[in-house]
Amino acid sequence: MSLNYRCPEFLVERVESNCIECQACERQCANEVHFYDQDFEKMRAKDENCVNCHRCVVICPTNAIGIRKHPSEYKENHNWTAGMINNIQKQAESGGVLLSGMGNPTKKKIYWDHLLLNASQVTNPSIDPLREPMELKTFLGRKPSKLEFDEEEQIKDLPPQLELSAPIMFGAMSFGSISINACKSLARAASEVGIIYNTGEGGLHEDLRQYGENTMVQVASGRFGVNQDYLEAGAGIEIKIGQGAKPGIGGHLPGEKVGPEVSKTRMIPEGTDALSPAPHHDIYSIEDLRQLIYALKEATDYQKPVSVKISAVHNSAAIASGIATAGADIITIDGYRGGTGAAPTMIRDNVGIPIELALAAVDDRLREEGLRNQVSLVVSGSVRNSADVVKAIALGADAVYIASAALISLGCHMCQSCYTGKCNWGIATQEPELVKRLNPEVGFERAKNLIEGWAHEIKEMLGGMGINALESLRGNRLMLRGIDLTDRELEILGVKLAGE
């Protein structure tokens, strides 16, 4: 059957008087939307192919292009929305699982936006970060609950720590899910700013080894690219149990993305699908997790902190407490808005819980059990700006991972079509002609600027609160007030209502 039942999502609008027919849009669109019509002697567009990635909009030298939501509308229906209907049409065509890229876009409450920060007035001077020192240095790793000295009154060494110049890290994104140029941009930015990036489950490309001190190497259920060298190459090791975008399921990098470089880095044959199982098949319990944590510590001579990453789910607090006692040095919790290269839409949009609530609950639980000092707490899953970072720290996190925001700094325009492999920004693709669109010289600078910009803003906000070291904000929920939240929500967040 030839008829496509779906309406085009977007409409390409071209200001004819501006178009100079340079065809840059055509050359830049991997989705083959734009084309030059010889007969009409002008540019035309196949709207139905457009994913609204804005590459043409940005590249057009005369600002002649605009992309709009397609004006054709379904009859208004708050229940059967256009998205719902389109999804059904897609599945009726394909018989497959609906796929999506990036994080959950649905209209659910964003708790960050219901939290407000404090500032000093009169009784307590605010501090000007331009004139006074303002410290964001953060250490991730297990700390003893008290400082200990040996017989000679020398201080005993602390367990290994990751040192960050700001409480921000680049979240796990594998080489394979993103391009080598995106990896290079983030790794170099992390190294120049003094933070950490995370390899994701993609192994470590030769070209990235030089950034080892700023690397968190990930060990996930597929164990791709994991060997002794790999474990030793990074500053820390992360066991990935789950991901906020798709809690409870594994990963799948299609064979067409497994080119020679990905194949070498992941240590799998070229062109084969890289399947990460839903669970680790050697971890069916918390005892098994403990074994893996200690196996990794043994393998690296107890020189690297081990992090365990889980997605935020209903009983995260209990799970986190188990992870802490199992020996993890860092717990990472990824909220339900977290991004991904590809996830089944139904799972992405319906499984897991908001990171803000999970964070508050986990921090509370770890404190109740006296475990909070033993583990660092890192959160992710849609930290969108520096204020979100500050709120996360005030709720109780030691640091955050940012991934979507990092990709946006590299050019991503959130078209959420990563799974097609045709990323016009050279980020979520392995096609050489697309990959080269992201010049890592440009990319690293942009990612670095983002972190530096956020760090400046965090300092301003801290100074406003009369705080000059980040640790005095950590878990300091008195610096937060809620608006438009129920008593129960406030209770879970451990925050008072604005005005109280």
Partner: protein, 364 residues
């Protein structure tokens, strides 16, 4: 006890005098010193800590208590009788002062932990007492433990500090260490328990400033069983020192470096050994860092520590003469009682001034 808030904002005056030889002197001088800084208070609270005042009962815990009413007193006395062997329970003597009104019932009990209870608890004596004190403060409506140390006592209330001193007849007490506080809360509540000093066991603290890290400090302390029930940042400072010095048995300089940590830029310039120590302190006790403006005098039976926040956002002046060390918010408050000290200086932010009795090498 009404008007309790999460955190009471305040600005203030503080003063302290230690005779290093342990010679005792009456409360008159400290009243004169704090009175000079009248304008730094607003009549919402004043108080004094005195060390060495109960020599004949120096082995017993002197528990000073405020009661709103007899009902509270009866309940707490039942608790005390159950957990302590009380040798004396008496009203703390006061005199009528026209401006001091609505005072609570003020009692003190000289006591030792009840032996069977103590051994059943498996706790050290001090920890046992500390837990009993925190239980009374958090669980007994209308009762408040003002102080609980040995051979020391705290006398505080709502009013200007000089009036409080008169009220409690402090000129009749003799101590080798006195600290005082005049309060200027920027929020309304003036409740008797909310005046400084705050105490736990031998520790007493007077504090000028506001701790913007309070929320972080409080939740950290709660992990170690402290209940911040008095809703003030000053209480949290007391507990932080108690945690580090008594429970964690840290040297004083370590505790000081935790609460007023050197900046990372300073740490980078330190010698390797010191650098490693301070770096570890900042990592392990990051939640003990006190942020925001403060000057404090932490009193103890062995002496005192006076400390500013690390960027010195509150005043603190120190002076010495042959036998004594003086600390105060303002130099004038020292000169009022010691016109010509041998030495006067203003310590730098984060630099602790430690006054010890002769022969004592450590505070705890």
């Amino acid at each position: 006890m009404v008007n309790r808030q999460e955190k009471v904002l305040s600005g203030c005056a503080i003063s302290g005098i230690l005779n290093r030889k342990g010679k005792k002197f009456s409360g008159r001088e400290i009243i004169d010193s704090i009175a000079l800084m009248h304008d730094r208070s607003n009549g919402m609270g004043g108080g004094f800590a005195a060390y060495g005042i109960y020599p004949e009962r120096k082995d017993e815990y002197a528990i000073h208590l405020f009661y709103d009413d007899l009902e509270a007193k009866n309940k707490v006395e039942k608790f005390l009788n159950c957990h302590f062997d009380i040798s004396v329970g008496e009203v703390v003597p006061t005199r009528e002062i026209s401006s001091i009104e609505d005072s609570p019932l003020i009692w003190r009990y000289f006591s030792k932990p009840e032996e069977q209870k103590l051994s059943a608890s498996g706790l050290e004596e001090d920890e046992y007492v500390a837990q009993c004190v925190m239980n009374i403060n958090s669980d007994y409506q209308g009762a408040f433990v003002v102080s609980s140390g040995k051979n020391m006592g705290v006398f505080k209330g709502v009013g200007y500090p000089e009036e409080i001193g008169e009220f409690y007849k402090l000129e009749e007490y003799e101590a080798y260490l006195w600290t005082a506080h005049g309060r200027f809360p920027t929020n309304t509540p003036g409740w008797w328990g909310g005046a400084h000093p705050f105490t736990l066991l031998d520790w007493s603290i007077v504090h000028n400033g506001e701790i913007s890290s309070y929320g972080a400090n409080k939740r950290y302390l709660e992990m170690f069983g402290y209940k911040c029930s008095m809703m003030t940042d000053t209480e949290a400072i007391t507990y932080l020192f108690d945690l580090m010095l008594r429970k964690h048995d840290l040297p004083l300089e370590v505790a000081v470096k935790a609460v007023a940590a050197p900046l990372w830029s300073e740490i980078e310039r330190m010698e390797v050994e010191e650098q490693q120590l301070v770096k570890s302190i900042r990592q392990v006790y990051s939640s003990a860092l006190l942020n925001g403006p403060f000057s404090i005098i932490l009193g103890h039976q062995n002496g005192f520590i006076a400390l500013n926040d690390r960027i010195k956002l509150r005043p603190l002046v120190v002076a010495e003469d042959e036998e004594r060390i003086y600390v105060a918010s303002e130099e004038s408050a020292i000169r009022e009682i010691c016109a010509d000290p041998d030495k006067v200086w203003s310590p730098r932010g984060g630099e602790a001034v430690i006054g010890l009795l002769e022969g004592r090498s450590e505070i705890e």
